[in-house]
């Protein structure tokens, strides 16, 4: 068994090395002396991208594969949540907080050979407004002008101060494209990253090759294959039989025991930005009553729920903030589990015996946690009917678009999405001027004001019981024992391959 898999990898690696030496012949600089030489790695992931163009196709799968690996941004987020330099060495913010001046690295090159300059940055920022079709493009609405002061200096002016803008520049919206390399983004992405796009076997895998012309520290692995599995069991079997080296995101935590008990593997648990939200349709008469919303939160024994439906993995949060955000604080005590109080509150509100429709997307965690929520809510005198809606299509139309639901369960995985999720236009139908005011103040203020106002906003949300936060999805990674550099927390859109190495 071992021999088959290592031979397969060695073969692929040798072929790749041949291809690379052929490509770099003549450049003279690349001696292939990077730390890992010609070693390769296979990572198992769950969702295959439908296209490689995240400017026109939504979903987490494309930035997971390409952002930070094939594309760089001006700035990026480190594992603790801080915004740190990437293609911009440094930046300053004007006193009115509307003008950002970025000093860019001068040795970055796109994989099509073109040098990266401030003109490309201007092009990339403007292109979000003109050519992107996904909803994320609205992030750039706040930009009034981007201009190249010199090849290495970029100035971006905003219409109003916005901390959110710089943060979004760490996500896919901030990816830097080549002016001459956007013709075939869906099949042939061109970036400045440590890896360049190799091949894509649709329905199977994407191969990334080390970019020997990369301007920063070159990655350890010469080749990384991202192999996609629809079925969690198949993913586990692939690691058990040596077809892959890493399971990037474990989908079924109850299956972890087969790895924790085996010394060939390491299991890493960290946090994500994925809040599993029991969302309330705040426009429904019965849910407009604060007492009812609070009662629902108090009726749920969150620890028991987490143990039952997610094998105890994950973290309890009392509001829409993961622990890696600077304004995170423990709000799990705002609505502690109290069955008697919940029952009494429902009776006082005249909602005892009310029927609520819990419309669940067909996602494993939603299905299993939904059963627990139903049983716990029924213990305090509510009636709950469960509908399964196929995800994404049917759920998106019924719950998300038409808000035809009372309760639903879905993980909101976007970073810093508190404001996006809780407003009158969103499917939560949560209309709260106080919250909107706090969020606006947070976005326009300096760092201290941002943290202070975001704390207030999170507390407000929790006290108003705009939803219930069941738990924060854990980042669960299983890998061969000898792999190092695996990120514990998965809080960016990227699966960072650059720090991985084999000891």
């Amino acid at each position: 068994m071992k021999s088959y898999s290592s031979r397969a990898i060695a073969l692929v690696g040798a072929a790749a090395l041949l291809a690379l030496t052929a490509c770099s012949a003549g450049s003279g600089t690349s001696s292939g002396s990077s730390p890992g030489g010609d070693q390769s790695l296979v990572v198992g992931l769950v969702a295959e991208p439908a296209s490689l163009d995240f400017t026109t196709t939504d979903g987490a799968a494309i930035p997971q594969a390409l952002l930070g690996n094939v594309y760089n941004g001006l700035v990026k987020q480190d594992e603790s949540g801080k915004i740190v330099p990437d293609l911009a060495k440094s930046w300053t913010v004007s006193p009115d907080r509307r003008t950002y001046t970025f000093e860019l690295v001068d040795n970055a090159k796109f994989t099509n050979g073109a040098a990266f300059t401030a003109a490309d940055a201007v092009f990339s920022i403007n292109r979000v407004k003109t050519a992107w079709t996904t909803s994320l493009k609205s992030v750039m609405d706040v930009v009034s002008e981007a201009k190249a002061v010199s090849p290495t200096q970029l100035q971006v002016t905003l219409t109003k101060p916005s901390n959110g803008w710089l943060f979004r520049m760490t996500t896919r919206v901030g990816a830097m494209f080549s002016q001459t390399g956007v013709g075939k983004l869906a099949t042939d992405p061109v970036g400045t990253g440590p890896y360049k796009f190799g091949t894509w076997k649709r329905g199977d895998s994407i191969v990334l090759q080390r970019n020997d012309a990369y301007w920063g520290t070159k990655p350890f692995f010469n080749q990384v294959t991202l192999k996609y599995f629809k079925d969690p069991t198949a993913l586990n079997n692939a690691l058990l039989t040596g077809t892959i080296n890493v399971i990037g995101t474990v989908q079924a935590p109850e299956a972890l025991t087969q790895f924790t008990s085996n010394e060939k593997y390491q299991v890493i648990e960290g946090t994500t930005n994925g809040e599993v939200v029991l969302s309330f349709n705040n426009s429904r008469p019965v849910l407009k009553d604060l007492r009812v919303r609070q009662a629902i939160r108090q009726a749920i024994d969150h620890q028991a729920l987490l143990d039952t439906c997610f094998a105890g993995r994950g973290k309890l949060i009392g509001s829409m903030v993961p622990p890696t955000d600077p304004w995170s604080e423990d709000l799990t005590g705002v609505a502690p589990f109290d069955k008697a109080k919940a029952t009494a509150a429902l009776q006082a509100a005249g909602a005892a015996g009310a029927t609520l429709r819990l419309r669940l997307p067909t996602l494993p965690y939603a299905t299993s946690c939904g059963q627990v929520v139903k049983s716990q809510l029924e213990q305090v005198g509510l009636k709950v009917t469960i509908d399964q809606l196929e995800f994404p299509a049917a759920w998106l139309t019924t719950v998300f678009k038409n808000a035809d639901y009372d309760l639903s369960i879905v993980a909101h995985v976007e970073p810093r999405d508190l404001g996006a999720v809780f407003n009158a236009k969103y499917y939560t139908r949560y209309d709260d001027p106080t919250l909107a005011g706090l969020l606006a103040a947070a976005d326009s203020g300096d760092e201290a004001a941002q943290v202070d106002n975001m704390k207030k906003a999170a507390r407000r949300l929790s006290e108003q019981a705009a939803a219930d936060w069941l738990f924060l999805l854990p980042n669960l990674v299983v890998a061969d024992k000898n792999l190092t550099g695996l990120p514990a927390n998965a809080i960016t859109e990227s699966f960072d391959l650059t720090r991985l190495a084999r000891s």
Partner: protein
Amino acid sequence: MVLRLVERTAVLLVSLAVASVLVFGFMVVLPGDPARVALGVNASDEAVAQLRQQFGLDRPLATQYADWVGGLLRGDFGTSYVSKVAIGPQIADRFQVTLWLVVVAMVIALVLAAPAGTVMAAQHRRLSGLALSALSQVGVAIPAFLAGILLIMLFAVKLGWLPANGWTPPASDPGMFLKQLILPALSLGLVQGAVLTRYVRSAVLDVLREDYLRTARAKGLRPFPALWRHGLRNAAVPVVTVLGLQLATLLIGAVVVERVFVIPGVGSLLLDGVSNRDLLLVQDVVMVLVVAVLVVNFLVDLLYVALDPRLRVER
């Protein structure tokens, strides 16, 4: 013979027309707006409307249908809503993979079923026949995906003899291709074989009761030589028919087995298409499958005539 050919061709064409209307109709009533799924959460209604227009989803249904069928007849499968890639080559690519799987599974099924069914029939009162019969019942009761999971657990995870999943094209690495093909083809083939065994057995039993076989036995031939020389060709007629019908089941089974073994065939393409609401792709794939099944049945009908001269007589 000619009349029969004309008649079967007419049936084939009508079936294809009806199927195309049904396939198109199902896609229309399927909930979920492809434009919204493509644009994802938070997309504005204007953006969705714009994309619907771009996809041509705002046109009358009759026009959409006519365009689709017209395209298919010209060999133009259109462009995927989601990946923005031409669909025709994608299907061709994936179909090759599924074809390998189905054909090898079919061969395994036949290799198992023909001798096993014959023995079961010839010895239907003996212990060996009964034992085989019981075994085939078990095979019939197991769905292909379960067989697949069991085979993976035993041969890949426990014994480590074969890979648990994956696919390598035969041209790039024949050895790996075979290794990866064995388990999925077996899981389909074993189940199909078990089903087929039952048909072979009853076909052979029928033949055994025929007068000409009794005559052959009376002339002194031993049971198996008698069957071999006079019976098997006749027994093949009903078995070939079943084989054609079973092809549809096999294709459906392949869809599921492809998922268990992570094989990039038509099945996984279809599943992805459905969950992404890539409607045109789904329509195309389903239509190709329908054509495959109908054409095979058409050919089986003709083969039937070739095998049994009695059917060649004009009615």
